[in-house]
């Protein structure tokens, strides 16, 4: 099954409540997937800084002195520990260096996502537990997506949890299963993409990253996905300023959307949306199969 949620705020006065609203939406979807949960929050970017969310199986050992060790290696950094994750802030123009440096300094650390604004937190466990471990409720932001997983295609591990992030400020959650992911993964590997897992959804994320790297916007990349991805999917995708939704042409996997003057919201079920402010008068609809929906803070008037 899996449960997915997304919230894209139009009204800036709701931004401090993003974490709280998205947390409640995801917790409502708990019975669609008990294996693992994750959330991506797009917060306010700090000028000139990049954020890297890292995860470790030994967080106490790995994150203690990490800032000192990174600085010692020539990359000044601020490290904020959050349970098994840490958000590492570095100069934006030096993002390319961190992956190699972490591999050398902290071999067991994995990067969950990176960019100007995104922070990604995911772990094995129920949404309520994962959310409280990382203090997601207190986080503000402009938009965010979340996922609770019932695994079908690969192991139940932290890295196999969603959202998957394969490019700067990009992430994807998926309900469904892809049937051509192995072939597509080989093609993307040849094109220079790297993968952390055997998961089909990571391939979808990498596909969109590769398409956007070639100059497409999110909407165009999603349109291409309809031809290039085979299988069942409902995707919710985030970029630094954008938020997209796509369902495969058969559209077995459920999806409900709601839009008001203040937000655009996505849920696997209406239950996930039922607590949002003003839902009683929102436009509520089921996204059409094989139809790209996307919103962008920069393109919105």
């Amino acid at each position: 099954m899996c449960g997915i949620v997304g919230l894209f705020l139009k009204d800036r006065s709701l931004e401090p409540r993003l974490g709280e609203l998205l947390s409640d939406m995801l917790i409502t979807m708990t019975d669609r997937g008990p294996d693992s949960a994750g959330i991506a929050i797009y917060g306010a970017p700090a000028t000139g800084l990049a954020k890297v969310t890292a995860q470790s199986p030994n967080p106490t050992a790995d994150f203690a002195n990490l800032a000192t060790d990174l600085s010692g290696a020539g990359l000044p950094a601020r490290v904020t520990e959050k349970n098994t994750h840490a958000v590492i802030e570095i100069a934006a123009d030096r993002q390319g260096e961190i992956r190699a440096l972490l591999t050398r300094l902290r071999p067991s650390v994995r990067i969950m996502g990176a960019g100007e604004s995104v922070e990604i937190f995911k772990e094995v466990g129920l949404p309520g537990d994962v959310i409280s471990r990382f203090g997601v409720r207190a986080m503000g932001g402009t938009h965010g997506i979340g996922h609770t997983r019932m695994a079908t295609e690969s192991a139940v591990t932290t890295l196999g949890a969603h959202p998957f992030s394969t490019g700067p400020d990009q992430c994807l959650v998926h309900n469904g299963s892809l049937s051509n992911h192995n072939n597509l993964r080989r093609a993307l590997l040849r094109g220079g993409m790297t993968f952390e897992t055997d998961n089909d959804s990571e391939v979808a994320a990498a596909y969109l990253t590769a398409e956007m790297a070639s100059g497409k916007d999110l909407g165009e990349a999603l349109t291409g996905a309809l031809d290039d991805l085979d299988g069942f999917f409902t995707f919710v995708v985030g970029t630094r300023t954008g938020f997209g939704v796509l369902r495969d042409p058969i559209a077995c996997k459920p999806a409900v959307m709601a839009e008001t003057e203040r937000y655009v919201a996505f849920g696997s079920e209406y239950r996930a949306l039922a607590n949002l402010p003003g839902i009683e008068t929102a436009r509520v609809w089921e996204p059409e199969p094989a139809t790209v929906y996307f919103w962008d803070h920069e393109k919105a008037a």
């Binding site: 058969i250 559209a251 077995c252 459920p254 079920e269 209406y270 239950r271 949306l273 039922a274």
Partner: protein
Amino acid sequence: MPVFDLSTTPLRELNSALHGLEPGTNDTRFEVVNPRGHHAVAVGIDSPVSVEVHGSVGYYCAGMNDGGTVTVHGSAGPGVAENMMSGTVIVEGDASQYAGATGRGGLLVIKGNAASRCGISMKGIDIVVHGSIGHMSAFMGQSGHLVVCGDAGEALGDSLYEAKLFVRGSVKSLGADCIEKRMKPKHLEKLAELLEKAGVTGVKPEEFRRYGSARKLYNFHIDNADAY
């Protein structure tokens, strides 16, 4: 008149109360408030009770209904009125996928639009949709009537048996073995009856086209191998 507030009362209490109704009871009208997308609201009714649901519901609302009248003052999630035996289910808003699936009898009225697979494997139910329906609707429909005042999506009536389909607007495509058929007086009569029962006004039976089975796929025939 019992009122169940699903924000404070477990769903099972509502459904147990509905299942426990004895013949001749005075509790013939139930109200449900704050359904908030709950699954399985008012399933398994087997007495002539009426249930007014104020808000939107999740999966399988009014499933297996046998003789009750359930009105959803909101929208319904997947599988509303699934396997209905008899009675009436009215959705004031939209319905998600497979509305009325496998229904054996009764009337399902959807005042908004229905998503994909509306009436899939229908077996005697009558479904009237005021708006439009999605793809693969009435797939393998065996009997009953599907009336659509708006448009139908791709592959309408794929592998159809004897369900009768009436669409007023456009049909994106017909499924395998589904063809347009001539509208006869008996069909217009039935359509008029269903439109009236479903509260459709300002729409004439003559505005619809009828679709049904070409009956070529009932039994395996090697010449039809491409169509299976």
